[in-house]
């Protein structure tokens, strides 16, 4: 830590080693957006109520607005930008596109991370387990219906391997 309270942090984000100099009160969300330009994770409430800032830290889905960037030092972070890309969609992303699951899209990044965390842990969840996995991600446009349908489809089509696949 430097004299003036600024911390040098180094962590892997979406498989890439990232460094930044942050003041202690900087949240992981602020570091992702402002230091590394990864604006996929969103600020919806800044107090852990809405889930729009959900990312994976060491495989666990957490609200990045409630984790200090310094706390993420040395850990493995996955954001929406780490889940496939424009040409190579993750199966979840492809299903959400096929079913038009999202409308305004603001809650999508955080909710898709929660969905991925669910499938990483339980590739064949019941509908109730899917709803429990998403209850920390608020959405005002969709009523969650087509999101749950898409996740159900992915589980059915990909019983087992839920890897990155060529966009459909």
């Amino acid at each position: 830590m430097r004299g003036d309270g600024v911390h040098e942090i180094e962590l892997t984000v979406n498989g890439v080693v990232r460094r930044a100099q942050v003041s202690p009160e900087t949240t992981l969300l602020a570091a992702l957006r402002d230091s590394w330009g990864l604006t996929g994770s969103k600020l919806g409430c800044d107090v852990g109520d809405c889930g729009a800032c959900t990312v994976l830290v060491d495989g666990l889905s957490i609200n990045s607005c409630l984790l200090l960037a310094v706390q993420a030092n040395g850990r493995d972070v996955v954001t929406i930008e780490g889940l496939g890309g424009f040409e190579y969609l993750h199966p979840l992303q492809a299903a959400f596109e096929r079913l038009s699951s999202y409308q305004c899209g603001f809650c999508a990044p955080g909710m898709i991370i929660s969905a991925k965390a669910l499938l990483d842990e339980n590739p064949a969840p019941t509908e109730l387990q899917i709803r429990e996995a998403l209850s920390g991600n608020l959405c005002r446009c969709t009523g969650y219906t087509k999101v749950i349908d898409a996740i159900t489809e992915v589980c059915r089509d990909h019983a087992g391997a839920v890897g990155v696949e060529q966009s459909v």
Binding site: E25, T27, I62, S114, R131
Partner: protein, 289 residues
């Protein structure tokens, strides 16, 4: 959020030493689901934030001669998935899954839940019903208190400014005791408790030898409904009239408030219904186990 100095001690001694040196200028940071929310709503936060996730003594769940020990930094998700908890105190899991959402449970810790100590905390009733004890440590040494004496009032515990909560102990006698938990919230996902209640029973030859009933969110701290316990103790299993009477008695022992979420009158209804149902479920567990 106002800036502060961040330190992350690697040992309990370093942590306690820092707390003694800085006193109320220093705030320990556990899961952050409560502290960071508070810091974002004030213009004058603490000078130092001490991240205690690196202190090994605060982690782990293990069986000890005195009972089941749960480290203060154990997260709600770890409790949900711990075989020892499933075996010895499954009601703790029933309570943990009602706390916030997946993200909150992956970050939030049981120690943080107890130290923040809002009257509606969801981990409180089950632990009180299991006669849980908490261990606190300061530079001067460790001390242990029953959880009921640890809670002093809303957001107020027995912790001295330079003390850390180390772990929670569920005494051996209470392990495996059939216990049930119920929470009434305004919504199914991410809900704060209007009323939460836990109860356990010890059944011998068709009679209720021993019982605990703990009520949350209906008085400054989690309380034991001792009069209601008295009514049930010694009675025959299956006597639902007794359970009704105990449920009504529990209402008289609580001091629910009127607030924007619900009226005291409605909370009293929930206390009665909740007490009856947790006693019924605990008895069902006891007679089928």
């Amino acid at each position: 959020m106002k800036t502060f100095e961040y330190i992350a001690p690697e040992s309990l001694d370093d942590a306690l030493e820092a707390m003694e040196r800085h006193g109320s200028d220093l705030k320990p940071l556990a899961g952050g689901t409560d502290l960071l929310v508070d810091l974002k709503h004030t213009l004058n936060g603490p000078r130092i934030v001490m991240d205690i996730s690196g202190v090994p003594e605060l982690r782990g769940i293990e069986e000890t001669p005195a009972g089941l020990r749960i480290g203060a930094m154990v997260t709600h998700t770890e409790i949900e998935q711990a075989p020892l908890i499933a075996e010895h105190a499954p009601a703790m899991i029933a309570a943990a899954v009602t706390i916030g959402a997946v993200q909150t449970r992956n970050m939030g810790t049981i120690g943080g839940n107890l130290v923040t100590c809002v009257p509606s905390l969801d981990s409180g009733p089950v632990l009180v019903a299991l006669d849980a004890l908490v261990t606190m440590a300061g530079v001067g040494g460790k001390r242990q208190l029953p959880l009921t004496e640890f809670f002093l009032g809303p957001r107020q515990t027995a912790l001295a400014p330079d003390e850390l909560l180390i772990d929670i102990l569920i005494p051996t006698a209470m392990l495996g005791r059939p216990t049930s938990f119920r929470k009434f919230g305004l919504r199914k996902g991410q809900a704060l408790a209007l009323v939460n209640v836990a109860a356990n029973v010890k059944v011998e030859e068709g009679r209720i030898a021993e019982t605990r009933i703990a009520l949350g969110a209906v008085s400054p701290t989690v309380i034991r409904a001792v009069n209601a316990e008295g009514i049930v103790t010694g009675k025959e299993v299956g006597d639902t009239a007794v359970l009704r009477e105990a449920a009504q008695t529990a209402v008289t022992e609580a001091r629910p408030i009127d607030d924007f979420r619900a009226s005291a009158a409605y909370r009293r209804e929930l206390i009665a219904v909740g007490t009856f149902r947790v006693l019924e479920e605990a008895l069902a567990q006891a007679t089928t186990a």
